[in-house]
Symmetry: C2
Subunit: 375 residues, 2 copies
């Protein structure tokens, strides 16, 4: 053997992190317990039944009746890519609302699939008005309008009420990033006329990262059926995936069963709590945080009416070394918060209160730790 045996790895011992960054967040122990159950075959009758349960639970948390509502076997970015890969054909016009890092990612991905991409832009931390979106649709006449409902890089919540109607008026599909909103922020996909949405498992749903909830309306499905070119991404081709998640249950890939055990348990916990209660809990704990930050003399980057309850950006005060604060929180208190991304790098901290971690005791602890570190 040319490659020598590596030294025996040490047993995995993890630091006891409290994850209050942009995600992942800590998972409910019941979710972790579910994930450690033995694997099962991806075509086992039991597993197929569980897939049905997951579909119906995802429809509930997203408030949609879309038949094709599944968990994609990859992280949130795979879900993002799945939406674009399926409905974008080379030459299609895609209009992306860019008000942060993930808007740029949508632009990048759509371009790779051959879209003619146009951008509407806003300073990072702001959101688009309905009038601005209408203007954009009028000017560009896209096949798809892509918006980020919860911009993880800025903490801004893009309102969606009325956007679906506009998209119908202009004959385009509405694609929405709900990575940092699903489970933590009110979402009514069907009421709002959203045609394509994706999310992740590790934020509002409180499951570890690894899966990406995905949903597609019958309108979006129709565009997929009318494609002239095959979906270039095989792994995320919904023509194939829909035949595994539904009849005739044709093998596509070996499903990550343990991740799906965890997702099912996480969704089950939301049913137990009640979706509206869950949203309210996120809002209440975020408000506790915002109040505490204000008392510390810190300023939130986003105007309150568009602030995400799941993810708060806090401006780093003049003269404070933002990176050092992050490192001290991690080192001294095992608390993870995030730094700024892209345009906001070095300007903000990102604090997440998501899923299982959206609890008053976590707010209390973080504020006290911040106080110590900022002294």
């Amino acid at each position: 053997m040319t490659i020598p045996t590596p030294s025996q790895p040490q047993p995995l011992t993890l630091p006891p992190r409290l994850l209050l960054g942009p995600g992942p967040s800590n998972a409910n122990p019941r979710v972790l317990a579910a994930m450690s159950l033995p694997p099962i075959g991806h075509l086992d009758p039991f597993y197929l039944k569980m897939m049905d349960e997951i579909q119906s639970l995802l429809r509930y948390v997203w408030q949609t009746n879309n038949p094709l509502t599944i968990s994609v076997s990859g992280t949130g970015s795979a879900g993002m890519e799945a939406t674009l890969a399926n409905v974008v054909e080379p030459g299609d016009k895609v209009l992306v609302g860019v008000m942060g890092y993930f808007g740029h990612r949508l632009v990048d991905m759509a371009s790779r699939y051959g879209a003619q991409v146009h951008q509407l832009t806003k300073p990072w931390g702001q959101v688009f008005s309905l009038e601005e979106l209408k203007q954009g649709l009028e000017t560009h006449r896209p096949a798809v309008l892509a918006l980020v409902n919860a911009e993880t890089s800025t903490g801004a919540r893009q309102p969606l009420e009325g956007v679906g109607d506009l998209c119908r008026e202009y004959g385009c599909l509405l694609l929405v990033d709900t990575v940092t909103s699903l489970g933590g922020v009110p979402l009514y996909l069907d009421e709002w006329g959203v045609d394509l949405a994706y999310s992740c498992s590790q934020k509002g749903l409180g499951c570890p990262p690894g899966l990406s909830p995905f949903t597609m309306s019958p309108r979006a499905w129709e565009k997929l059926q009318n494609r002239k070119t095959p979906v270039s991404n095989w792994y995320l081709d919904m023509n194939l995936l829909s035949r595994y998640w539904g009849e005739p249950r044709t093998y596509h890939h070996t499903a990550p069963c343990n991740m799906n055990y965890g997702l099912r348990e996480a969704l089950s916990l939301i049913v137990e709590e009640g979706l509206e209660n869950c949203w309210q809990r996120h809002q209440k704990n975020a408000e506790l945080l915002w109040q505490g930050l204000e008392e510390l003399g810190l300023i939130c980057h986003v105007e309150k009416s568009f602030r995400l309850p799941t993810l708060t950006t806090v401006r780093i005060p003049e003269g404070v070394d933002g990176k050092a604060v992050i490192q001290r929180l991690l080192k001294d208190y095992h608390i993870e918060i995030g730094g700024g991304l892209g345009e906001l790098a070095g300007q903000v901290w990102r604090i997440g209160l998501m899923g299982y971690n959206s609890r008053p005791e976590n707010v209390l602890l973080l504020l006290e730790a911040l106080k110590k570190v900022l002294k």
Copy 2:
């Protein structure tokens, strides 16, 4: 809320399956325990260190020094797609050796990336000789030769000795599917001159499904660097992924940390056992199975010298309802075996002895159960 609250899901209770099909296989309890540890941040110093460990452990089990050796955040099919998406540019000639279902999948995927695909074909269950491969390279002069080292649909092992030299002679890259061989069948990627390989977590490595080991030689990396078009698949673009798995540790996607805990533990178990011992164990238990099958009057589909120790295809005897046998094994004994795929559908059973499940007691139990069911 328009979508009513679903009824509270029942606690997850799983049937006690013994997974002796084409995968997943049961996981070592230590792997499952690792997967249930709390999540950690994807840029946490601890997690970055663990990524380095995983890279070095994967290099060991594959016997390669390739710097870019990582786990892709998706199942084996995502790894397959990652190899093609990165090195195939529209118009590139790709020659695929098709001797089963997964060869066809390679053809499908490569076509979606715009390759000009040529096929060498063999009846399902046979393998290519070096001479036949040379002939194919001579005729087609491809940029990439893609072979399936362990054809999960047939149970045949394609020898790779000498193929890398041929590919160098003809100036093409060698891409190899090791989904059903990694960890269970001797593999010497560097010695054999393999440029691109992928595998899965749930077979020879004995971890649940969800990750795909991936490796790329410096030659393949060079082809990627010389592309004239961007990699159309953002999620699997190795230009981006290499900057997360190595310096400057740029955020790409939120890594599925718990799956990687499991993979690390599974690889750690192989170091503990010794890679060669692990290969020998797979071989020994497979031979026990083959002998037992013969004693039951059953015939293996693949000639012994090319038979995979990890996956055995058994011809369904005349007059036996193959599907009914599978169902009775599952129903009466909780044992999962697989049916035939594609051309071999209805003609064979597929029996896997992989990773943690490659144990004499499992062979014994399966043979006894088969005896009862076939009576």
